[in-house]
């Protein structure tokens, strides 16, 4: 198994001391040094090519390596960005993560014409494939639907059974993208979220609609919040895994927060959805052992989403990987 660290450990959107510094190139240069110091030699990158959505605009213009345009402007080119990573001791990019939510956010920020959604999803994926090819990396990981509360508001219109049509069109876009990606040496996989139309084990039926070459990149916290057993999911899909996101949570969604349009920022009840790796209740060691037993040779991508202290989270992750999750018995 190969180990990477996700840049999504850095939460860019919400408030805090020194938060705007996270938008500068200087922060990321230092962050990559922290990543390497914590013993990670690969990273997974989030990807968002849009700039009309106000938050995407703010994040994409000053140094966060979030898109081809951002990388070209601040790091020269994808190739030069890889060289910069290598200087710090980060030899690999495990993959790039795109989220369908970002395509819908772009539409809602402009003309609100949801008829453009699937075209925008496709163009986002196509751009990310090109970026991966330029980076010399191979894994495009797609979160395939926006939050179900938002999708229902934008596409449901109170109609019975609208979800099936929406998912059929999603599958068609992903199948088309996967074929184009293959021609560029990139493989496509889908990731689950506890708030998507494909939450928990609902993704299983969707995978059956996809070309066999499209793989699954499970996110363990999201599975746990959705009530699925992460270890059982890994075992059930062991022949179709691309990468596995190891992260942690002790969040119990007792108020049905997953149905809202802002599921990762709950208003009622408990609000801390994710926690630092090892602070929660996900059976991370069990998951690791299941992958080892299956002879999994793909990427394990670690993160501590929404951590309150990034450098500490990186060090905590390394210690917990070495001394708990992947420790020899």
């Amino acid at each position: 198994m190969k180990i990477a660290c996700s840049l999504e450990t850095v939460e860019l959107k919400s408030s805090g001391p020194s938060k705007l510094r996270l938008l500068s190139k200087g922060y990321w240069i230092e962050f990559f040094q922290w990543v390497a110091a914590a013993g990670f030699t690969a990273v997974e990158l989030p990807y968002n090519p849009f700039n009309n959505d106000p938050l995407a605009f703010e994040i994409g213009r000053c140094g966060v390596p979030i898109s081809l345009a951002a990388v070209n402007v601040k790091y020269g080119s994808p190739k030069q960005f890889r060289q910069k990573l290598a200087e710090f001791g980060i030899a690999d990019v495990s993959g790039v993560h795109v989220q369908a939510s970002d395509a819908l956010a772009e539409i809602l920020a402009t003309d609100g014409d949801t008829a453009r959604y699937f075209g925008l999803l496709e163009s986002m994926g196509r751009e990310a494939v090109g970026f991966l090819a330029d980076l010399g990396s191979t894994d495009l990981v797609v979160s395939p639907t926006p939050p179900m509360g938002l999708v229902e508001r934008c596409f449901g219109g109170g109609r019975e059974g609208w979800e099936a049509g929406f998912l059929d069109l999603t599958a068609a876009v992903l199948n088309k993208l996967a074929r184009e990606a293959k021609a560029k040496g990139v493989r496509l996989s889908v990731r689950n979220e506890f708030w998507s139309l494909l939450r928990g084990t609902a993704l299983d039926a969707f995978l059956a609609k996809l070309d066999k070459e499209i793989l699954y990149s499970p996110d363990l916290s999201h599975l746990a919040i959705a009530g699925a057993d992460p270890v059982a999911v890994l075992k059930a899909h062991q022949g179709r895994l691309a990468s596995v996101r190891f992260n942690d949570t002790c969040f119990e969604d007792v108020v049905g927060n997953y149905r809202t349009s802002h599921p990762e920022i709950p208003i009622q009840g408990a609000q801390r959805v994710f926690c630092d790796l090892g602070d929660g209740s996900v059976d991370l060691r069990g998951a690791y052992q299941a992958l080892a037993a299956a002879g999994f040779d793909g990427w394990i991508v670690f993160d501590s989403r929404m951590t309150l202290d990034v450098p500490r989270a990186l060090l905590r992750m390394r210690w917990r990987i070495d001394h708990a999750i992947a420790a020899k018995a």
């Binding site: 805090g16 920022i265 309150l308």
Partner: protein, 310 residues
């Protein structure tokens, strides 16, 4: 009742304050034992402003979807703020990216119409607008492009006035309307529809003396973004670089009042001379500690500036 009332632009807290109210303090503190919990919700952040003596706040353009999602409506947010002692959401900040090209005007106007409606529903008085694209990749602008941007601004201002809101040109040191054509741009716009907000640090970084600028344009300057800087007349290559607003090295452009070299006492003497009345705003984006900056700025106002004019 004094002549000046103080508002604060809330962009220094981050792109998006995460929660309306953080329900359980311990959920964030236990296990982390840090101070992040103090920065996570509007409930506390609004009370910091009131505690420091700022009874007004401003919102960024990227708060529009957040406010609608989490507070139901702009009025819902304004009411939430009033319950915590904020008298008024005094205004907002918006952008007119691409206005230098007439083909973009429908989209720019549609976006700013949303912001005008948002500002009105918040109960705001003004909307501060970056008038064109960023300099990098777009500047310098030709006379025709400048004319296009000015026409677009006039139309935004006309629409704003229909709702009782004053549209103010907000200069940015990294905007395509820059040092060499800012004054020409001001002259190209219609005083009926386009006021000017004097951002003391932004104009200093471009090489304008903010005190002299107020003296010259006091009839157009209806509003203030007060912030300090220790950089005067930054070189073009630094000011106009890609993503110049967030320095690659992480250095600060902007400081709390009294932390830089802007002549605020000189400005206050002119405020007194011209008998300026109403809301003035402090803006200190990029500070590493919003709470410290908030309190330091108000202390400077109270001890150094208020004795001159208040």
């Amino acid at each position: 009742m004094g002549n000046l009332k103080y508002s604060y632009m809330t962009n220094m807290w981050g792109l998006m304050v995460r929660y309306p109210v953080a329900n359980q303090w311990g959920e964030w503190y236990e296990g982390d034992f840090g101070n992040s919990v103090y920065y996570l919700d509007w409930d506390k952040i609004l009370r910091y402003h009131v505690g420091a003596g700022f009874k007004g706040i401003e919102l960024m353009f990227h708060m529009l979807p957040y406010v609608n999602e989490y507070f139901g409506s702009p009025k819902g947010f304004a009411d939430f703020a009033k319950e915590r002692g904020i008298e008024q959401v005094t205004g907002t900040f918006s952008l007119a990216l691409g206005s230098e090209d007439r083909a973009n005007h429908p989209a720019v106007l549609a976006m700013n119409q949303k912001m005008i409606d948002f500002t009105a529903e918040l109960g705001g008085e003004n909307i501060n607008i970056m008038p064109a694209s960023g300099y990098f990749g777009h500047g310098p602008l030709s006379k025709e492009q400048l004319r296009n941007a000015a026409d677009c601004f006039n139309e935004i201002g006309r629409r704003a006035l229909d709702k009782g809101i004053v549209a103010c040109i907000h200069s940015e040191f990294w905007c395509a309307v820059n040092k060499y054509d800012l004054e020409r741009f001001i002259e190209m716009t219609d005083p009926k529809y386009a006021a000017f907000v004097l951002d003391t640090a932004q104009v200093s970084i471009m090489g304008f003396d903010p005190v002299a600028m107020y003296d010259k344009y006091h009839e157009r300057i209806k509003y203030f973004h007060l912030k300090d800087t220790n950089i005067f007349d930054a070189p073009d290559e630094k000011r106009c670089a890609a993503g110049a607003e967030f320095n690659d090295e992480g250095d600060r452009w902007f400081w709390e009042l009294g932390g830089g070299t802007v002549d605020f006492p000189g400005l206050w003497k002119l405020l007194k001379k011209y008998q300026h009345k109403g809301w003035v705003a402090v803006e200190t984006d990029g500070t590493p500690d919003p709470l410290a900056t908030l309190v330091l700025s108000k202390a400077y106002i109270d001890t150094e500036l208020a004795p001159i004019y208040s």
